[in-house]
Amino acid sequence: MTPLFDDAGILDLARAIENGHRLGLDEAMALAERASLPLLGSLAHRARLKKHPDMAVTYVVDRNVNSTNICQCGCRFCAFFKAPGQAGGYVLTREELSRKIEETLALGGRQILMQGGHNPDMGLEYYEDLLRFVRETYPDIHMHGFSPPEIMYFAGLARVSHIEVIARLKAAGLASIPGGGAEILSDRVRQAVAPAKCSSAEWLDVMRQAHLQGLRTTATMMFGHVETWEERMGHLIALRELQDETRGFTAFIPWGFQPDNTALGGKKCSPQEYLRVLSLSRLMLDNFASLQASWVTMGREIAQASLWYGANDFGSTMIEENVVAAAGVRFRMDEPGLRQAIAAAGFAPRRRAMDYSILEPL
């Protein structure tokens, strides 16, 4: 029969965490392999309360815009991309972008999350023009865009350093960078699932340089494909070390791989697996203020539960979502729906900006 309590080694670790001990890889692995889910959830919730004692949960009203689905990467977990020349590829026109921004403004949103495929026809100058256009036409809009693999791709096309790419995008109006494309920060895993994407070291250095240039960023992890628990924990440690150095990350966002319609295929991430990863992320990332729940991949109910497993942010209204939807997962929530979900889960909803400053609700 399973005893009620976790084993003595795990309980020792739990007490150490309560006393502010920073977990090393071996300790993280012990928790990953042996700790019960109620223990991990409880510890993560207590760690979250230490950072955010007021039982509030933040969210952002923004729109997800995908500038193109044409992509040379061919990542095996992706159901969204079309190879250059393949039917079904698109490039968002200025008119379409303007309409999407105006819809966002009409809903009260002030932020656009822009990401897109690695399209050889859309390089640094294309996006500099686009950013200038947005800044001139819609000065209230905060542009949160271009994950590190895109920045490395622009650097390669333009034959300049990623440092210069970041500086030029910033000069053209880029306000912050999303943490996408991190997948798992292990080159073994990246070779297996996204061989054309930038390396772990490159991903981390884009973030380092962005932080040094004053841009805040988020960080993500996509798990549940070919990686091991050790590689997941290695990912968290790499992020924690960079955060010690720069303090530029605002939030961490883990989500489970969605296998439908992808070359990789495989099994769906269970709620238990997701919540284990989320809890361990909160415990490992002691220098990250915020942890986001992913209602887009896990749905409203599991996102509500995740607020009790270390998450203190409910992510974004999205308005549109294309990448996860292409993998067969479609959940939708507007701002009232998001606020209601947060309140029903036992927390006060608070609208925020990208930098987590609190805004009035719409």
Partner: protein
């Protein structure tokens, strides 16, 4: 989480009782509902479910038959009922019901539940049960809630005991647990004034158990009731179980707010409330062997997570469900056996295919 942490939340006496397998009082149940850390009741519920069932999670290959949606009751949470003659009202002929069943292929359980029709008498159901029994000699037949039994007795001019005995004779094994809603008189009167009261519901179950039928028991929550009402409901069930012993499974059903007269007066329970209620039910109902996470109403992901909060059953493959879906349930109409088994395994448990009486079903 260790003893000192649980003690710091005032739950050490509850912990000791759980470890000793002793019955929890209503105030102790309330303390579990009120505990600021939901992982504490979850840990205790996990302990109890492991003691009872190891790592097993049950599911059933089943088919629902809803013979009619015409109902004399007008429960305010119901999106399914119709008046006689109203658009969409129907009564399945026994042939139609059998056709729907046959379309589902082999099943281990047939679940028959519907409205309280003003004229459809016991003979209709005896005929249906006998046909199902003839077509499926090994399947469990789970038919007619306590509310329908009471109604049939009135419509047919027979005693409840007589109705139950005849149904059993026609092949029925057990009664589904529906119609319990919430026993507490205040919310029950507001929700379903025409429906039999909690005591009458329990007395039908007592008679059913006495004639050798088994049954389940439900609780509809997340509407107008309080957590104290839920605990009283659980306590009434376990006291009845002490006397008659026939309850197999407790099913906490979330109130779904779509398409019904109650509408926005109640929003339904949040995911955390569902999870907490699973844990509290597992801990309070020390004499009812199984707790079901009914995926048709909860959604598969939340049902999977309920398995870590004390539930040990996911219900079934179902095939065409009407009552929850008319109330806005957005879930699939059916899951395949591999989908259910994979969901159970991904959550860290071992799937066990069962029949209606929780006997392992031979595949």
């Amino acid at each position: 989480m260790d003893r000192s942490y649980i003690a710091s939340l005032g739950l050490e006496p509850v912990l000791d009782k759980v470890l000793a397998g002793e019955r929890l009082s209503l105030p102790e149940g309330q303390a579990l509902y009120d505990c600021p850390d939901p992982h504490v009741p979850a840990l205790m519920a996990r302990h109890v479910r492991t003691r009872l069932h190891g790592g097993r999670v049950h599911y059933v290959v089943n088919r629902h038959v809803n013979p009619t949606n015409i109902c004399v009751n007008r429960c305010r949470f119901c999106a399914y009922r119709r008046d006689e003659g109203q658009e969409g009202a129907y009564v399945l002929t026994p042939d139609e019901a059998m056709d729907k069943l046959r379309a589902a292929g082999p099943v281990d359980e047939v679940h028959i539940v519907g409205g309280c029709h003003p004229a459809l008498g016991l003979d209709y159901y005896l005929d249906l049960a006998a046909r199902v029994r003839a077509a499926y000699p090994k399947a469990s037949i789970k038919a007619l809630t306590a509310v329908e039994i009471d109604h049939l007795a009135k419509v047919s001019g027979l005693s409840i005991r007589e109705v139950l005995t005849r149904l059993k004779g026609a092949g029925v094994d057990m009664l589904p647990g529906g119609g319990a809603e919430i026993f507490a008189e205040g919310p029950r009167k507001a929700l379903c004034p025409e429906k039999i009261g909690g005591e009458a519901w329990l007395s039908v179950m007592a008679e059913a158990h006495a004639v050798g039928l088994r049954s389940n028991a439900t609780m509809l929550f997340g509407h107008l009731e309080t957590t104290a009402h839920r605990l009283e409901h659980m306590d009434a069930l376990r006291r009845q179980q002490d006397l008659s012993g026939g309850f197999m499974c407790f099913i906490p059903l979330p109130y779904l707010p779509g398409n019904n007269p109650l509408g926005e007066e109640a929003s339904g329970p949040s995911a955390m409330d569902v999870l907490r209620t699973m844990s509290v039910a597992r801990l309070m109902l020390d004499n009812i062997p199984h707790i079901k996470a009914y995926w048709v109403m909860l959604g598969l992901k939340l049902s999977q997570l309920c398995l870590s909060y004390g539930a040990d059953d996911l219900d079934g493959t179902v095939v065409e469900e009407n009552i929850g879906h008319e109330a806005g349930s957005a879930t699939e109409q059916a899951l395949t056996i591999p989908q259910l088994e994979e969901a159970i395994r991904a959550s860290g448990f071992t799937p066990v295919r069962r029949d209606g009486l929780f006997r392992e079903a031979s595949v």
